[in-house]
Every structure is written in structure tokens, then in C-alpha cells.
Amino acid sequence: MKRVAIVGIGHSKFGKRMDVTINELAWEAVKQALDDSGLSQKDIDFYSVGNLGFWSEELLPAVTIGEYCGLRAGSLKTEAACASGSAAIKVAYDSVLSGNSKIAMAIGVEKMYDSPNPTIIELIGRAGNYFWEFENFGLTFPGYYALYATRYLHEFNAKEEDLCLASIKAHHYGSLNPYAQFQKEITMEDCIKARYIAWPLKLYDSSPITDGAAAIILASEDIAKKISDTPVYIDSQGYATGSANLSRRDDFTGLEASRRAAAIAYKNAKIESPRSSFDLFEVHDCFSIAEVMAYEDLGIAERGKGIELLRENQTYHDGRYPVNVDGGLKAKGHPIGATGVSMAVEITKQLRNEAERGRQVEIRKGRAISHNVGGTGHYAYVTIYSRGD
């Protein structure tokens, strides 16, 4: 089977971006990706836009962004909650893989600050099983993950301090990533003394509200090497959908959809040992507990042992399993629809050895993996990337 490669990447500064509209924000990433690849808009045969929307003004972002950026090819918006960006990659990847396009672009963008904070809390809280979870019981998004955190901490004898280790690591790498929303380190005291948002989760356990955009350009193998000296291939993508209502989950210590998506991705990329196959892991750490569960769901830690990787600092850039050395969702920021594409940009940068000082991982295996979850394991996308050398 022919392969598909990333030949161009672009990434906006993440944060509160009230200096730009959603179209202008997307342009920052699109322009960089075009510049990076040396291609122009007319070379793009298809594009997709990962975006959840609701909080920002444009209902048809694929169209308004296309017009602003000079993209005229066929397009669509993809929605897979916080994995909308990976869904955008999926359809662009499939378009090239099928031969329908030679070159396709996946854009991810979210403009959350266009609505006031309470509106955002209200809207994200509805991202479950509306009537049975929100209407009657007012669940918030941190609340969904808190249900997992409570059970995990109880079952595996872990403490809130352990979860803070993930947040401290995230902020450390955020301080080294100029694109990150948060540029400052935090201490254990900062984290543990912060106010609760959904007990047992506190302020620093949570990813922030973020504006941001990212874009990648995908090309078929036969032309990828002509466009880029350093193409990064997509080896496989696994995806799965979990139950809408959390009461229909078997357990609350891991995300079943993540495990299923990972198994598919591993099988199709012929990965037998996830622990010895990757130089970098980009995982969906929308909350500290989500990062710990990701270690286990991806198979780099046994069930209940994820916390030990944090205690032993094994997921820093020089550890055995470098995870989210760009600050992750918690410090880089989590512009919902942009996150999955941002993960692909970071992986491409790292595999090209272009990451900033203090956070470049050592590339030995030439392979990396992204784990992008929508909702609380409602959607899961696991994508495996390699330099192909």
C-alpha cells in the first residue's frame, strides 16, 4: 500500500487571542504550512477543518476559512469533540490514501474566547448525554473526568499530589515552548493549594480555555519526497467511539475507547511492543488524570501503575517514555478542534529534530504516537507517525 506523508506544518501561538478572528487565526497556521512545504493554495486538492464551534461566531468555518485563506478545493468541517483535529486528519489522510487527492490539508482551529467563560462552561458540560447528564445533574467537563479521578485514586491508592506531578511537568515544558499558552513553571504548592473545580480535580489539574490553530499538509508518497526533504509518514490510525452516558461504562480507571483505538493503530502499524517502539508520545492530557490513564490505555504502563511513571520522572524528554514535552493540553493549551492537528505538528517537529532547546527528544526509533480523546472517552483517535527511514 502506498503511504501518505506530512510535508508541511503550521501552528499559531496558543492562548487568549482576542487580536484575531477565527479566519485570521487559521491563516497563521495555513500560511506557515504553505511556506514550510513550498506549496501554494492551488496545489491543495482537498481540505478539512477540525472545529467544534458554538462559542465562536462562524457556523461554517470550513467555508469562511477557505475564503480567507484562498483555498478553493472541496472541504468539510469535522466534529469529534476534542478529537475534531484528528478527525480532520483522518478525512484528509483518507482522501490522499484513496487517490482522490494528491495533496490535502488538515486544519484545526478553535476560538473559545469569543464567548464569556460561563457560556463555555455551560456548553462543554453539555458534551455528554444531554438530558440524562446535563439537564438534570449539571455535570461540567471537569466533573466527567473527576468521576474517573475519584475512582482511580481510590482503587490504586494514589494521591492528589501524584496527579499534580503531571501538571508540574506540563508547565515545565510549556515554559520551553514559545507557542504554549502558559509560559511559567508551577510548584507542587501552587498545584495542591489551588481551588477545586470538580473535586478531587483542582485548577492546575485542568487544561485551560484556549484559542489556537494548527495545520498540516499531506501528500502521497510518490510526490512527498519531491516536496519535502523530511517527510513524516502516517503509519496507521485507529479510532473508536465510547458510550455517551458515563453510567454505561464498565469501569472508571481507564478509557475503553482509547484502548480499542490503540489496539487498532498498533495492529495496522505492526507494533508489538508499544513500550519499545516510540521516541515520543503526544497524549490527551485535558486533565492530569487523563494523562495517567493514557499511559495505561496506550500500554506503556500496567493498569494502576501509570502514576509510578510520573513519580519516577519517566515521562520527561530524557526519560524512558517522553510524553507531551510541548506542555500538553494543560500548559500548551487546548483549543478543542486544533488539538489533534497540533499533536501532529509537534510530532513532525520532533521527528525533524526542530523542537526548541531543552525539549527536543532523542530520535532513535524514528517513530511517535498521538492519542487524541474527544469528550471523556466518547471518541478516541490514535495515530502513529514515522520518519520512514
Binding site: M18, Q32, I121, G138, T230, S247, R352
Partner: protein, 153 residues
């Protein structure tokens, strides 16, 4: 290969247009197919559906069993007896719940095998323990409608 570059811009907050159009969003949710559930609540009962063919119990109730497309379902009353599996306390609340004090959202596993997500109505939140016995009961909310909540046994 051009390196990624950007410049940090200073955000001027006065450069914002405040939308003059307001959208009020209130859904009309059709619940006719599970009307039995709401009639049950009015009579103090919490009802679920059960597939006549495979016996699967559905809560929230649904009137189609995707495993047995040609089967019907019957309504059953749930015992309410449950074990607490997990919970959280919602400290930062949605605007539409801001009038409530911090509330406990819990998931309990019922004797019948199905799990239910709802509030856990308890005076002292410090007394909550995973594995404790809880009981699901119909309640009337101050918005004048019936729903259900867990109570300590």
C-alpha cells in the same frame, strides 16, 4: 526548509466588537417514546426498559434494543438499591445551576446490574465512601419537575 516563526502581538482589548444579536437556546426534547418513565416518576417509581428477547436492561430507558432489532421492550421498575462506584463534587458550576450549593454527582451500580448517574443527596459530603450502599429515589426539583437522586441508605 523554512523554520516556523511568529511574532507575539499585543492584544488591545478595546478592539473588540460586542455582538448586538442575542440567541436564546432552549430545546424542545421529544420524550413521548419513553413517556412511561415520566409517568413513573410522578408515581414515585424509577422505570427502565428490558429487551423481551435478550433481557438487556436499559437505563436511561430506550424503546429499541439495537442487539435484537425485531424485539420489543417491556417496562420494569428499578429497585433503587445501589452501591456507590464513584463521585465528584461540582465546585465550579454551569450558570444554569449557579443557584445550587456545590452538588455531588455520583454513579451507582444497581442491584439489577445497570448503573445510574445522578446527584447524591447527602448532608455531610465527608461521609461519602466508594462502595457504600445508596438508594435511588424520585425527587421534585425546585424548578417544579420530577427527577431522581441517590440518598445514603
Amino acid at each position: 526548509m523554512p523554520m516556523l516563526q511568529f511574532t507575539l502581538e499585543v492584544i488591545k482589548l478595546d478592539d473588540i466588537f460586542f455582538d448586538k444579536r442575542t440567541l436564546e437556546l432552549k430545546y424542545q426534547i421529544p420524550l413521548g417514546k419513553i413517556g412511561e418513565f415520566f409517568r413513573g416518576l410522578e408515581n414515585g417509581k424509577i422505570m427502565a426498559t428490558k429487551c423481551i428477547e435478550c433481557g438487556e436492561i436499559y437505563f436511561p430507558p430506550q424503546t429499541n434494543c439495537p442487539e435484537c432489532p425485531n424485539s420489543g421492550v417491556e417496562w420494569i421498575e428499578l429497585s433503587g438499591e445501589a452501591i456507590l462506584e464513584t463521585y465528584t463534587i461540582i465546585n465550579v458550576k454551569p450558570t444554569s445551576f449557579s443557584k445550587y450549593p456545590d452538588y455531588v454527582v455520583a454513579i451507582g451500580k444497581l442491584k439489577e446490574g445497570v448503573k445510574v448517574l445522578s446527584w447524591l443527596n447527602i448532608d455531610d459530603q465527608k461521609k461519602i465512601r466508594i462502595g457504600m450502599k445508596i438508594f435511588l429515589r424520585v425527587v421534585k426539583r425546585e424548578e417544579d419537575y420530577y427527577t431522581y437522586e441517590f440518598f445514603p441508605e
